[in-house]
């Protein structure tokens, strides 16, 4: 009888352990998806090219990339971080985006008054920014643009991204392709800001808009 109970206990323990591991694995997987290897290697290659051709801003780009990696690898382990870190990341991301083309792209980032130490879920805004760039194909579309706005009042945090959609892609990108990043962000918003957020996504006249409000 005791043996039966011990065995049973053991079985439950094992089951519990598997569950825990499953959860940890899914969290890890989630974090991993935050580093886009395509972005990382292209950034490295661009810096390599700059260094090789004697571009003086290569060292600055290396520190920028290091800061981005540090942010993704370490800071993102917490559920919330200070807003200025997310803003810095977006700024750096846009710098690397500009390296893709010889001419400067039409990108705007308006930051009104904001509380640097406002606590926000890491990589939340970045997801929408990356999505905007990806679908605007701004590096190829001469008339393309990406506009980002952040503003804040004591009551609410406001974030807005709009991007052009290239004319030849008049057929909207299928939802499945738009996919995982946005879905992930929606899930995180529901988990971390239950009943404290409003997310509106619209797609008309070849402009894709994301509007996000977070409340206290």
């Amino acid at each position: 009888m005791t043996k039966y109970l011990i065995d049973k206990q053991e079985k439950t323990n094992i089951e519990l352990e598997t569950l825990k591991r499953g959860k940890a694995e899914s969290e890890l997987k989630f974090l991993k998806t935050q580093i886009n290897p395509h972005f990382l290697f292209n950034a490295l290659n661009n810096i390599y090219s700059m260094a090789y051709t004697g571009d003086k801003s290569a060292p600055e780009k290396i520190t920028m990339l290091s800061d981005m990696l540090r942010y993704v690898l370490y800071d993102c382990e917490s559920d919330y971080i200070s807003l200025y870190k997310e803003v810095d990341y977006i700024n750096s991301f846009m710098e690397f985006q500009q390296l893709k083309t010889e001419k400067r792209q039409n990108i705007r980032f308006d930051i009104g008054n904001y509380d640097e130490n406002y606590q926000i879920a890491p990589m939340l805004l970045v997801t929408f920014v990356e999505n905007g760039f990806k679908h605007s194909k701004i590096e190829k579309d001469k008339n393309g643009f990406v506009n980002i706005t952040i503003s804040q009042t004591p009551e609410k945090f406001y974030f807005f991204v709009e991007n052009s959609i290239p004319v030849e892609a008049a057929v909207p990108t299928p939802e499945t392709k738009r996919g995982i990043g946005i879905e992930n962000a929606k899930n995180r918003l529901n988990l971390l800001y239950p009943k404290k957020h409003k997310l509106e996504i619209s797609n008309s006249n070849n402009i894709y808009k994301v509007e996000l409000e977070l409340y206290k």
Binding site: F41, N45, N46, Y48, S49, T53, K100, K137, E139, K140
Partner: protein, 251 residues
């Protein structure tokens, strides 16, 4: 020694700095000439199909079209040397399946690039030599003594007996050849040179450095293109008069 021709290269990459680096590397190789650099495969297609391009350096992951799909769908009588330049090691196997000559991982160092260049120039120099030989040699239309009417081809691990009557044409790729027959396509370890000697000269002709054709299967000659079954293949400048003579005198 004949004058060394410069090899024409193009670069395809969606990133400006990546193109700049490749262009810089190519400019340092005396035998290479950079024709142009493009930000997408679609932009490069006209330049490639118009011919005369020897080497294509292409990225794989690009927003509009993957370099891999692009190369897979290239249908040219003479495919240029393909070099993939990418951040992803996982496409390498696929790369060799589409006969890529080299696979460079970003960031590519100059010494690594030079290593690739050596491999490319070896192949191109050899190709050029072959071309030279093909032009000098005139086909021998004398039939062989024996009445053999088939050839045995090693294809994978099988031995396949191909009747001369079934062969449409034979396409040469570096160290092996493709037999296009009525019954399908077979790969065999042969050289076109060896085949040229083995096949009866009254039935087969080397019309191009990459092709031996079954003369009776030619249904049309259009410029420097020859229609064989459903396939269009090229005839070299040197061989066209010989072929025309045969074609018109045959009936």
């Amino acid at each position: 020694m004949a004058e060394q021709r410069k090899y024409n290269c193009i670069v395809i990459d969606d990133e400006f700095l990546a193109r700049k680096l490749m262009a810089d590397y190519i400019s340092k190789i005396p035998q290479f000439h950079l024709v142009d650099a493009f930000d997408s495969p679609m932009a490069a297609i006209d330049t490639i199909t118009s011919g005369g391009i020897d080497v294509v350096f292409t990225d794989i992951d690009m927003p509009d079209m993957s370099g891999m799909d692009f190369i897979k769908n290239l249908s040219l009588p003479l495919v240029p040397i393909i070099v993939f330049v990418t951040a992803y090691p996982q496409y390498a196997v696929q790369g060799f399946e589409v006969n890529a000559t080299e696979y460079l991982l970003k960031p590519v160092s100059f010494p690594r690039f030079v290593k690739a260049v050596n491999k490319i120039t070896t192949i191109l120099n050899f190709k050029q030599k072959l071309e030279g030989m093909a032009m000098q040699e005139t086909p021998r239309p004398k039939p062989k003594g024996d009445q053999k009417d088939f050839i045995i081809v090693k294809s994978d691990r099988k031995m396949v007996k191909l009747m001369y009557d079934d062969i449409l044409f034979i396409e040469g790729a570096l160290e092996y050849v493709f037999f296009h027959t009525l019954g399908g396509k077979f790969m065999g370890l042969y050289s076109l040179r060896k085949l040229e000697n083995e096949l009866p000269g009254d039935q087969f002709m080397r019309i191009h450095k990459s092709y031996i054709v079954a003369l009776k299967r030619i249904s049309e000659i259009n410029g420097n293109q020859v229609l064989v079954g459903r396939h269009t293949i090229s005839v070299s400048k040197a061989m066209k008069p010989v072929l025309l003579e045969h074609f018109s005198g045959r009936k």
